[in-house]
Symmetry: none
DNA sequence: CATGAATGAGAGTTCATTCAT
DNA sequence: GATGAATGAACTCTCATTCAT
């Protein structure tokens, strides 16, 4: 029964996600996953031969997950500021929930493999944000920013926050600072230099 | 002779730094450090009882290390733009050398302890950058930015970069983008909105 | 199959008994037990996490083992002298086989734990001997001794012998002296004072 | 300076006695003794090369220690009952202080060596008690007991008590029972058989 | 000589991985 | 296939013992 096997696979993936999110990649053992899934040693091994394989399956699944799709909204000619605001709300939400983040695990995982997957994730993100900003510029909704530069700032500030918010307690104000900065760059009141 | 013991201690700290920087915290074992230091098991243990203790000694040492001291330069009335340029050059240098960064190790280490040390490090950084920007504002060298917001952007973009540049190959252009963005916020040509 | 696990458990208990009897508690290591049982490290650990746990399992098993049951014989109205003689024969037998005694191991084991088990064993013994002597008194077979006093003498002489017979070579005559003394107190020829 | 060396030796012996009395022989390490004596590793080793050697020195010292000397008192024609009473008082005292007893340590120590020392100790004790009882018999103070038998009972009850009183809480009444039994055998009221 | 840093053998313990049932 | 007992490699940690200072 391939369908059952597939279901167990999914189950393993879903049960181990929070383990990796909470503890990173290196600390998690096959034993931990056996316990989390209540599967026997042999049972687990018949699906995945290592934590690495499990983690890769998680990443794989993630990469297929439909993100908030800017593209669809852009095609529907939703105003760029509206799309951007929604995206930044989501970003703030994620910054507020560092425990869901696989960042640490990815970081550790990547340390030991050459993974094109990470580059892929990064490329997707860069393209997405670049497209959105271009779109705003074309519609005359955004200031004339340096697109590449701002995309870098957006992505890496986000990553930096996700990382450090797990280590040190961080107020939601900080997250708002970041999204605010981005808005100001694009369509906020240009009162800084005055 | 305590002096010898102290020297060995320092030696262990110095030899294990690159191990942690390269591999993170969890992957490093006492055995790895034995090998790196050429010390015997027992010899190592007589100095440190765990990798955690060694890592804490590294952090401790780091926290005492004199950072690029903005304060001294500010006291000497060096122009804010000069200090800032120097600081950003250093920042770019560090972004170009992710293999020296303890970020991953700190991240993993912190996952399992409540460490005020991290907060301390963060606080020091926030204060340093805040002081420098204030100084530039007071001297009329910087645009009237939102100080707190910009400091957050600076710090977390930096951290995000340090983290991801280990995972994915990143061009030095990206690093320049970041420092450029900061300069533009403070004293670059205000040509974005035009 | 829990039955296999249980069998291995029993096997470990049975194979380690002589080790403890011969060497005491502290000298025996998990490694010794691995070797005695031919089990691998991990295999042994999956049953018992320490020598302490194994030793406790031995004591536990011992406490369930049916001792020469005075009670049954008393219920069947066997003469007290007959029961007593049998018990003393057994006692002499045990004194002649110090290598089977867990005394040393119990002694060492108890040094580090507060074990009600030892008190339990002692209580059982006191009750058993007390009951037998009472029974002999009621049937008019025994002299009118001080029961408690004699029970103490019986028990501790026995323990003292078991202990020292391992350290110094001891002739069976000595063991006979002890059982003889007991018999004389209870039903021997009262010729001492003459 | 041989005199200083001798003093240090004595010091080591005295400081390690309680360690062995409390923990037995096997559990004590050279490290423990270093700590107890505040001597350095090398310092301790220059006096004794192993715990075994130290323990043997303790036994050696003990064997020279003047015990309550029955012989002297017998020579002075002190009544046998008086000497016996004093001896039994001391015995009770010792039974009340199991923590001072080296029994366990001797037991463990002997397990691994063929030690004539133990036989020597035992022989001394047997002779001492035998002599005292003979003396009492000759003076007509004691009942006509079987001397050898009673000596065995005395010695091994004592040893049994010393052993078990460390393992299980034991009331002083028990100790009194034992000494009382001995007195009754020798010169107590002969009311048992009545 | 004394000191205490360093060595290295060996015990304890944990898991990835295998395999008989 | 699934199970979980067993294996064995790799780690952690502790001391007896040595030796440069």
């Amino acid at each position: 029964m391939t369908i059952k096997k597939e279901k167990t696979r999914e189950f393993i993936i879903d049960m181990s996600y929070p383990l990796f999110a909470k503890n990173g990649f290196n600390k998690i053992t096959m034993k931990d996953i056996c316990e989390a899934t209540k599967l026997s040693r042999g049972g687990l091994y018949s699906h995945f031969s290592s934590t690495r394989k499990i983690f890769e399956a998680i990443l794989e699944k993630l990469s297929h997950k439909e993100e908030i799709n800017f593209y669809e909204e852009m095609e529907n000619s939703i105003p760029a500021t509206v799309i951007m605001n929604r995206a930044l709300v989501l970003m703030e939400y994620e910054m507020n929930h560092p425990e869901d983040s696989l960042s640490l695990a990815m970081y550790e995982y990547s340390g030991s493999v050459e993974s094109g997957l990470m580059q892929h994730f990064n490329k997707i993100s860069v393209e997405k944000w670049t497209a959105l900003i271009q779109y705003g510029l074309e519609r005359g909704e955004f200031y004339n920013v340096n697109v590449d530069e701002l995309v870098q700032v957006i992505l890496y500030t986000y990553q930096g926050i996700r990382m450090w918010s797990r280590i040190i307690p961080m107020s939601p104000d900080v997250f708002a600072s970041i999204t605010n900065h981005i808005k100001n760059q694009l369509y906020g009141e240009k009162n800084d230099g005055i």
